[in-house]
Symmetry: C2
């Protein structure tokens, strides 16, 4: 018998290319955004190239993805290169090329972790314990990728009306998981870290052209924490830092159902007007 | 007449190499850290390679530096490559090689900014308005680079005694500028973003081996804001996010004397024990 592949696995699938570290992939309509694919799947696909690489050691600690242009729907090539391999850390440079032009670059740090003193400092936002009891917003008019997530907003969904009324802040808190459910792994966590709607839409209650230019995610989860999380909703939390002359940044966290930090994430986003 | 070069300018100085985008530089004892040079000068030197590149457009928006190994004192080579140049943005990959091995990699996004709607969301921490009235801590036993900054801690200096007593948080707020004073520019702002002492030393009141593995800075300042700031102290603010199995991350901000956000900055740091 043959189980259908989860749409996320199809979206980040890579075929080995002509030499070690080269892969080819393709965008999928299931994760389409306003222009091109959802950046989260692009980030996950770049990370996946390092994860699939035969010389990879350890697990992801840091991932930075730079979106050099909007991807077109269709095929692309990725090259992942281990730039330096130490005893317990490995540094990667990754490039995505489409139609002969660099469309995204990334760097990643992987490491073999050891058990040490551990302690949180940030704390998870207040949220009702049962995600299923928080209503799911309408998906009407939202791009395809939004339907690939089950999002339950505790606060800070997109406004019902974009009436241009300036808001005091742009905080959001939401329970979110893949739709249909899928066990959490590093690739899906990398994508989830980009699931927050553009803060400028919330703060200004206005839709303006936007595009993430750079996204950085730090992974606190290891494979055991991911396995424990499984298919449960994670708790996302995000707020803008500053909006200035065409670029704003936000910082967010992704918490496990047990309120352990799985990842922290930051991005800078272009906006017009 | 010949004015002496500021030690920061000596530290980040690059000589053009054999081809466009190649440069050579050298560490300087003035910015020595416990092992190798201060990471802030390494970050600034990598950014400087893009700033000096003849094909560069615009000003820095985002910089990510991955420290692949501790630099040795001495010379190194840098190559900065514009991977994609759009109408108003440019994406860079930068590598630092020492003794034939990659010691650091970086990516940067530059952009030509336009005036748009702008608004802060995070706010500056409380601090006395006159930095000179805040006492300067002793520099005894601290590495050389610390003396290259005039730091005035409003809260969260290193403890007087490392007695191992666990603290509730690791927040720091400080007025800081180059020592001797130097007009702020993008390179010195990139270095300043790394001037926060390791959060694990504060939280645990314990010194353990540490090393930044990845540093990301988002620039909100443009050249006009930097010129207005001049040689004045900036206000730094930082806190840890999470410590887990060998890696912790922190997030911070660098504010102007007028309390405008110059940069936000994030890093993930290796620690032992």
């Amino acid at each position: 018998m043959h189980r259908t592949m989860h749409p996320f696995d199809s979206a980040i699938a890579l075929a080995p290319g002509a030499s070690t570290g080269r892969f080819s992939g393709s965008t999928t309509p299931a994760y389409a955004n306003m222009v091109g694919p959802f950046g989260g799947t692009t980030a996950a696909t770049l990370l996946n190239a390092a994860l699939q690489h035969p010389q990879r050691i350890g697990e992801p600690i840091a991932l930075t993805v730079n979106f050099a242009s909007a991807l077109a729907e269709g095929g692309f090539e990725i090259e992942a290169r281990p730039m330096r391999t130490n005893r317990s850390t490995q540094h990667w440079t990754i490039e995505l090329v489409q139609a002969g032009e660099v469309a995204a670059t990334a760097t990643a740090v992987f490491a073999l972790r050891r058990e040490t003193w551990s302690m949180p400092e940030a704390s998870a936002p207040a949220a009702p314990p049962e995600p299923e009891r928080v209503p799911r917003p309408s998906l009407v008019g939202r791009p395809a990728w939004v339907s690939r997530y089950d999002m339950r907003f505790v606060e800070g969904d997109l406004p019902a009306r974009f009436d241009g009324e300036l808001q005091r802040d742009s905080r959001s808190t939401l329970w979110v998981r893949d739709e249909p459910p899928r066990p959490l792994d590093f690739a899906s966590l990398a994508a989830l870290a980009d699931c927050f709607f553009p803060r400028v839409f919330l703060r200004r209650r206005k839709v303006v052209p936007i595009g993430t230019v750079s996204l950085t995610t730090y992974f606190h989860a290891d494979a055991a924490m991911l396995a424990e999380q499984g298919e449960n909703h994670v708790l996302g939390s995000v707020r803008a830092v500053n909006f200035r002359n065409g670029y704003f940044d936000h910082s967010g966290e992704v918490w496990s159902s047990r309120r352990e930090l799985l990842a922290s994430t930051h991005q800078v986003v272009y906006y017009r007007e």
